[in-house]
């Protein structure tokens, strides 16, 4: 390879112009990207304008019919509302509890290994395992949670079959399952705060609370913004644990918009309409992203 004859500069100039080495390097990704992201995006948009179905009839173009139907579809709006409600309920504890855990662990108390394992291990469980576990914990007659309520002298709760409780139960499961991820992000951010800030504060005689409020929390404000943004985007995509814990029930009272898309497309066979619903969901994600981008920019100014 290093002999001058094999120098790549002398080999086949026309082929090189057609496929410069940089493009060759990007090619594997670009092929996958084109096949499994760009093309499906375009095809999804096209399907949303047709009455494509899982049954065998040939699709025909229906214009914006699917979108007008979706915008007037009360079940679609209801499921979109559940997604937003889940996001609102889950984001605050997923950020706040993670911060609390990280602050406590970062104080350097003994047992670092155990704390990390306890808080992060659930994140490593496949959602199938998480849902089996929590269905068992929430089991009305035999589950641990109702046993504990009984010990505390309280009555049993129908965790997953009571419309007023089910969404909270899903949020609790989600908190347990994924808080470890944000916890690790906070822990890394805490370790990056320079020591000299604390040393200076200690010389000035600042107490522990003072240091927390005047150094640690201000130093964490940027990462808190980023974690919140990522959490909101992650929560908007909720489907797995809801589908596995309640199948969207009781009475569809927890069904998120992605499950509605799934139900319409794969249970109802209406792939065209499901595509339209998924683009309504995409619009929600884009609006949320734009709003958060604007908010982060304003804070950084």
């Amino acid at each position: 390879m290093s002999s001058p004859h094999a120098s790549p500069r002398t080999g086949a100039p026309s082929a090189r112009r057609l496929l410069p080495p940089g493009l060759l390097f990007a090619l594997p990704f670009l092929v996958l990207f084109a096949l499994f992201m760009v093309w499906p995006l375009v095809q999804g948009l096209w399907m949303s304008l047709t009455d494509t179905s899982l049954s065998a009839h040939a699709p025909s173009f229906v214009g914006l019919d699917n979108f007008t139907e979706a915008l007037g579809d009360a079940e679609m709006w209801r499921s979109l509302g559940h997604t937003v409600w889940f996001t609102a309920l889950s984001t605050v504890p997923l950020v706040a509890v993670a911060l609390g855990m990280a602050l406590l662990v970062h104080t350097g108390l003994p047992g670092q290994w155990v704390w990390r394992l306890a808080f992060f291990a659930p994140y490593l469980l496949p959602v199938g395992v998480v849902s089996l576990l929590w269905i068992w914990l929430y089991q009305p007659d035999l589950g641990l949670l109702n046993h504990l309520l009984e010990v505390a002298g309280l009555g049993p709760v129908s965790w997953l079959s009571d419309e007023s409780v089910a969404m909270w139960a899903i949020v609790l499961t989600t908190l347990w399952w994924t808080v470890g991820f944000n916890f690790l992000l906070y822990l890394a951010a805490l370790q990056a705060i320079p020591d000299h800030l604390y040393e200076a504060a200690a010389i000035d005689g600042a107490g522990a609370w003072r240091r927390l409020w005047s150094i640690t929390l201000p130093q964490l404000s940027r990462i808190t913004g980023v974690i919140t943004v990522l959490q909101i985007l992650a929560s908007l995509k909720v489907f797995d644990q809801v589908y596995l814990l309640t199948k969207g029930g009781p009475n569809n009272s927890t069904r998120p918009v992605i499950e509605y898309m799934y139900d319409v497309g794969f249970t109802g066979y209406r792939l065209g309409y499901a595509s339209a619903v998924s683009y309504v969901f995409f619009a929600l994600v884009l609006i949320a992203s734009a709003a958060q981008y604007a908010a982060l920019r304003r804070r950084e100014k």
Partner: protein
């Protein structure tokens, strides 16, 4: 291509370059964090420890409860009068029943094959694309990179319906390829690796180029060895994501022989819902692989989340 063929010897400069990178990441043991943030107050330390212990117990409790149930007989597991300790002692019956049914090991194997394939394809294609965007010039490069960055916003859930349609057209429904391929497109990893390559000094490649090394050799023998920690972080992240992915494997497989762990294990729940001890035994077995990996590679996994979890923000 082995490192001995190399016209340049990156080994020495690589080692020298390492400590200068990654500022602000000192060893944990050397830091007197406790004294800096909590103060010397015994009361404060005791209080913090108590809160932490309660939280950790609460987080471990669901897993402990599952473990306890898994070692009971079915009869004891569904005995409301004796909910904590079993009347008839502990048994491995739940585990042996689940294991002998035979589908669980198969799903584990499927999950492993799928996650490994997704990880290898994603990391390699993303690293190559990251190199192309960071180090080479070609027509349309900026435009393609902008498109890649914009694609980070696209939620995979959006693509489920068209993917499924695509797999029907390609006659790939119920194949490994259908489960694997759509999961290998990770624009965010291209972005992270491009930024990472941007941060590496160019002197090493200059030396290699003078010695006549082409792009492939610079990529494979100079930049990749330098990037091992970053590649490991990305690989771990991608692997965990693929291992736990539910929606697409769920939609794209109906053949139980092809199901991944998260999909397969919930199909059993529907079939054997009442058998709590068996269900928990299968949950424990299914949870085991990654938890064991975490116990052994905790430091790497923690670092992986810290470096890739923010998506390069």
């Amino acid at each position: 291509m082995t490192s001995t063929e190399l016209p340049v010897r990156p080994a020495a400069p690589v080692r020298a370059a390492r400590p200068s990178r990654g500022p602000g990441r000192p060893r944990r043991a050397a830091r007197p964090e406790g004294n800096l943030t909590l103060g010397e107050s015994r009361l404060a330390r005791g209080l913090a420890l108590a809160v932490l212990a309660v939280l950790a117990l609460a987080w471990l409790l669901p897993m402990a409860w599952a473990l306890l149930t898994a070692f009971k007989s079915e009869q004891d597991a569904s005995d409301p009068g004796q909910w904590f300790l079993p009347r008839h002692g502990f048994t491995l019956h739940g585990f042996s029943t689940v294991w002998e049914r035979g589908d669980l090991p198969l799903w584990m194997l499927n999950s492993f094959l799928v996650s490994a394939a997704v990880t290898v394809i994603t990391v390699l294609s993303s690293a190559m694309a990251g190199y192309a965007f960071s180090r080479t010039v070609f027509a349309g490069r900026r435009w393609l990179f902008a498109l890649t960055v914009a694609a980070v916003l696209v939620p995979p859930q959006l693509l489920i319906v068209p993917w499924f349609r695509q797999m029907l057209t390609l006659h790939l429904v119920d194949t490994y390829a259908a489960v694997i391929l759509p999961q290998t497109v990770a624009p965010v990893m291209v972005f992270i690796l491009k930024k990472h390559f941007d941060s590496l000094p160019r002197e090493l490649e200059e030396a290699a180029r003078i010695d006549g090394a082409g792009h492939w050799r610079i990529f494979w023998s100079v930049l990749l060895p330098l990037s091992r920690p970053m590649l490991a972080a990305v690989a771990i992240f991608v692997f965990i994501g693929a291992w736990n992915n539910f929606l697409w494997p769920f939609v794209s497989t109906s053949d139980p022989g092809l199901m991944t762990l998260p999909v397969g294990i919930t199909s059993v729940k529907d079939a054997y819902g009442i058998q709590y001890a068996q269900t928990m035994a299968s949950a424990v077995l299914a949870a085991l692989p990654l938890v064991v990996v975490f116990v052994f590679f905790q430091r790497h996994i923690v670092k992986s989340v810290a470096t890739t979890g923010l998506g390069g923000q």
